[in-house]
């Protein structure tokens, strides 16, 4: 792994020497699905380059889920251990777990107070990443949410809670599908929601403190999930669930709200399919902009993030184009959008629904316990 990282560092290093001295290349590395890379390549990059002649924005993706953030972490860690003077990632977009680990290992530079957009965020997610203090090191790029998508033609009365869902799948076998814990975060989010609903540990899981003794209660709630799995279909991934919903192979499943609306806009999703949030809730997560501690172009990186977090870009790029909930506080973004465009996000899920049933993911250690518990209890 380290040799590979070192080799890729060498390759990137050689590649960045190549262009002419007058041009700065801003290296943006993003975890997450392909839509994240497309966002920088097709929208943010060209706009930023127009505003800053002589700068070239280059985006690279490391893949979806925490594994994508893990790859970025490994690269920065390798450069830190090798003692490089400057590191070749200028801006990184990572998940909460990745950001928490990176702050812990002192791989990131604090920048929030150096840019104007830093004042536009007051939500707790800007300071707290699954229990770790990341204040000053991160800015949320967007807030995403997992919700149940269902086909109202096939599901006349969608289950409104996890308990109702468990009953519903017994009467409608193989009509609900999710992607387990190995296929993508929407499945992981569903499992988190299940455990929060069935273990009675919701506040503890979200706010802490971490108690290793909770494993037994978590395992017990996962035992009922093993039973549940007999009546459902496992899908190959985030996109797999959406795909099967569209083709009518399943009638209901957990999906990312932004992926859902994007697919619908692209014509890849049956326009009749609707969203709902079951009680007590499903998780969502922000992804963070971070700057590595020894980034080669730190000043340009700060300018880039300031640009990306400005209300106009958040309104036009994040909300309108990609159907994410904004990273900065909503009131700054709402004033930049038409009421219809703003309400599109809240057609099926009202703001009050989102406020009460949109949960954060559990603390990192509980997250690991739940995912490992799933393997131990449900998959065996």
């Amino acid at each position: 792994m380290k040799v590979r990282s070192l080799l890729s560092i060498a390759a990137l290093g050689l590649a960045s020497i190549a262009p002419a001295a007058a041009q700065t290349t801003l290296n943006v590395v993003s975890a997450g699905d392909q839509n994240m890379v497309d966002y920088v390549n097709n929208y943010l990059g060209p706009k930023f380059e127009q505003m800053n002649p002589g700068v070239k924005v280059r985006a690279v993706g490391t893949g979806p889920g925490d594994s994508g953030s893990q790859k970025i972490y490994e690269k920065l860690e390798a450069q830190q251990k090798a003692g490089s003077a400057t590191w070749d990632i200028d801006v990184a977009v990572v998940h909460q777990r990745g950001a928490a680990t990176m702050v812990n290992d002192k791989l990131l530079m604090p920048y929030r107070n150096d840019i104007a957009a830093g004042k536009l965020v007051s939500r707790d997610t800007a300071k707290n990443a699954l229990g770790a203090n990341v204040d000053g090191y991160v800015l949320p790029m967007f807030h995403s949410q997992i919700a149940f998508a269902y086909n109202p033609d096939l599901v006349k009365a969608p289950p409104k809670s996890f308990a109702e869902l468990a009953e519903w799948v017994k009467k409608n076998p193989k009509q609900f599908g999710y992607n387990g814990v190995k296929g993508g975060m929407s499945g992981v989010g569903f499992v988190m929601g299940w455990v929060e609903a069935n273990s009675g540990l919701r506040d503890k899981l979200e706010k802490g403190p971490y108690d290793p003794g909770a494993k037994a209660t978590i395992d017990k709630s996962l035992a009922s999930l093993k039973d549940f799995n007999q009546y459902v279909v496992m899908t190959p991934g985030n996109a797999g669930t959406l795909d099967m919903l569209n083709r009518g192979e399943i009638a209901m499943g957990p999906v990312w709200v932004d992926m859902f609306y994007t697919w619908m806009a692209d014509g890849k999703m049956n326009p009749k399919v609707k969203l709902e949030l079951p009680a007590p809730g499903l998780p969502g997560q922000p992804m963070y902009y971070v700057i590595p501690a020894k980034a080669a172009n730190a000043a340009m990186a700060k300018k880039f993030i300031d640009f990306a977090e400005s209300p106009e870009v958040q309104a036009d790029g994040i909300v309108k184009q990609f159907n994410w909930y904004p990273g900065i506080d909503p009131q700054y973004v709402q004033s930049k959008m038409t009421p219809t465009a703003w309400n599109k996000l809240f057609t099926d899920i009202s703001p009050s629904d989102l406020a009460s049933k949109g949960r954060p993911f559990p603390l990192s250690d509980y997250f690991t316990d739940i995912v490992e518990g799933y393997e131990r209890v449900v998959l065996k």
Binding site: G65, D66, Q70, N179, K182, M234, P236, E249, R376, L379
Partner: protein, 266 residues
């Protein structure tokens, strides 16, 4: 490691540092075993599943390869033989990941296979099922690897002396008998080589089970990738890889025994 530790212990002075040195030598071995224990605990089912799938696929590949190569050697309609010879090789050039993608659309509930079966009236629309589970993996493996083994086998059969086959046919032996009793024993070695190579190759494939089988149990390769990507748990991933190597070595042992026997045969 243990032997070295023993030596050090035997020569240890009472209460001396050598005992600790011995412990330090043995400790890493104990850690390694803990990872194997975790790997077997979490993924024992998947290991068994992997062996079953690959063994089943190897068996089916053997049957298909023998059937096709046999027909190419013993077939009596030159047009059919020529057509088969041209047709069977196509999957050879397709990478596993592409084969996985093909099967994803072919074997899905709304996929091409079901469309054909429903269209020809062989099954009712309501009973269409998705083959995207262990069956899909086996189908992808067999479809991709059978041409390879067939190629080897057909080549070996073509280089046999025709006299044996013709003598048997003149004596009235049906073609199946000729295949099983005359041809196969002579090309056993090549068949074994092809099957062992296929066995080891199929053990290493990540793309096919990842794309086709979201269920549990799944193949070991998926677990290795999951362990590395989600937990950065290289220890358990390495343990799983070593277990996979053991399985592959099992297949290689078969081949080596056969090769040695041939060399030693008078």
């Amino acid at each position: 490691m243990a032997a070295i530790a023993e030596d050090v212990l035997v020569e240890a002075r009472p209460g001396g540092q050598s005992r600790w040195a011995a412990l330090a030598l043995v400790a890493p071995a104990l850690l390694v075993l803990a990872h194997f224990a975790k790997a077997l605990d979490l993924y024992g089912n998947d290991l068994a599943f992997t062996v079953e799938i690959v063994a089943l696929s190897t068996l089916l590949i053997a049957l298909i390869a023998i059937a096709i190569a046999g027909y190419l050697t013993l077939g009596e309609h030159p047009r059919a033989v020529a057509l088969l010879r041209w047709l069977y090789r196509w999957p050879l050039f397709i990478p596993f990941v592409v084969a996985g993608q093909i099967m994803r659309t072919f074997l899905a509930k709304n996929g091409m296979l079901n469309h054909v079966l429903i269209g020809t009236g062989l099954i009712e629309p309501i009973s269409a099922q998705s083959m995207l589970d262990w069956r899909g993996i086996v189908i992808a493996f067999v479809w991709k690897q059978a041409p390879f083994v067939t190629l080897l086998l057909a080549g070996a059969m073509a280089s046999l002396e025709r006299q044996h086959i013709e003598a048997a046919r003149n004596l009235g032996a049906p073609r199946l008998r000729v295949l099983v009793d005359i041809v196969l024993p002579q090309v056993r070695g090549t068949l074994l080589v092809g099957l062992v190579l296929s066995f080891v190759t199929m053990l290493s494939v990540l793309s096919v089970p990842l794309m086709i089988n979201p269920n549990s149990p799944t193949m070991i390769t998926v677990d290795v990738a999951y362990r590395i990507n989600t937990f950065a748990d290289y220890a358990v991933a390495n343990a799983l890889c070593l277990l996979s190597l053991l399985l592959a070595a099992f297949g290689a042992a078969f081949y080596l025994r056969h090769a040695v026997r041939r060399v030693e045969a008078p």
